[in-house]
Symmetry: C2
Subunit: 142 residues, 2 copies
Amino acid sequence: MRPDEAARLEEHGIKASAHRVAIASYVLHTDEHPSADDVWARVKQAFPMVSRATIYNTLNLFVEKGLLRHLVLTEGRLVFDSNVEKHHHFIDEGTGQIYDLPWDTLKVSRVKQIKGFDVRDYQVLLRGRKRGRKREKKSDSR
Amino acid sequence: MRPDEAARLEEHGIKASAHRVAIASYVLHTDEHPSADDVWARVKQAFPMVSRATIYNTLNLFVEKGLLRHLVLTEGRLVFDSNVEKHHHFIDEGTGQIYDLPWDTLKVSRVKQIKGFDVRDYQVLLRGRKRGRKREKKSDSR
DNA sequence: TCACAAAAGTAGATCTAGTCTAAAGTTGGA
DNA sequence: TCCAACTTTAGACTAGATCTACTTTTGTGA
Ligand SMILES: [Mn+2]
Ligand SMILES: [Mn+2]
Ligand SMILES: [Zn+2]
Ligand SMILES: [Zn+2]
């Protein structure tokens, strides 16, 4: 639990209520790419009085204020990403887990030369299997 | 309306009923990336007796048999793609339209060197605006 | 300290895409 | 012609997400 969580919210123009800090202290520091209901399940463990509507309201507010991104990468899973920097995604087709790949892991050439499209943003989306599978259920970086 | 549509289905191990041919003759020849309900709306114009369940059953069957791909690219839109070859996708953020980019329009380097992941498949996903906008609502290649 | 308006949070209703179920219709070979 | 397998169907059901109408909390300024 970071002492500066509330300050970070205020910096982004968000009034830092207790519920919002609770939600932030999980969702802004995980690389799990959780769904809204994943966030709810996690936050409820410590703050069982937080309602589902508040989870949705808060996550959408964080997206609007640029603290989170909304990803739709795989069937029926709308997912939140606390990594708002440019990066690529790898989806494990066995587990459904989503992994971040740093931007310079890959290089995409000729984007500028695409005719007829103004590209604002892009990423590479990869699917396959993660090898190894050590450190699997490593407890989350709260 | 192609005379060989039924043959194409049979080649893929699909018994060619009238409903299936009707659905195929739209969805296997469009580059619109339609949702299931888009397909239903279109097919109903000519074949109003076809039920929603049959649309879903048939589209899922086509995917299973390799005639179609299932894409999840953008919020709340599970979409079918009759282009089953490797290619990239550009999403117009204004209209929501999805455009195919041929595989060799772009080049992605270092995919093989990614450590710890077995990549089975990948594509580049681009967002922005399509320029020009001529030939906009061009009638579909049925 | 109190009044009170704005902001935050809430339960439950509603919406929607997609799946499932159980029954009816169709087909084609024996 | 018979019948089993296949196809199609209406509508029930599910789950994620949003909306609505209401209550609670917060903070300001008289
Ligand atoms: Mn989940
Ligand atoms: Mn649609
Ligand atoms: Zn990510
Ligand atoms: Zn495509």
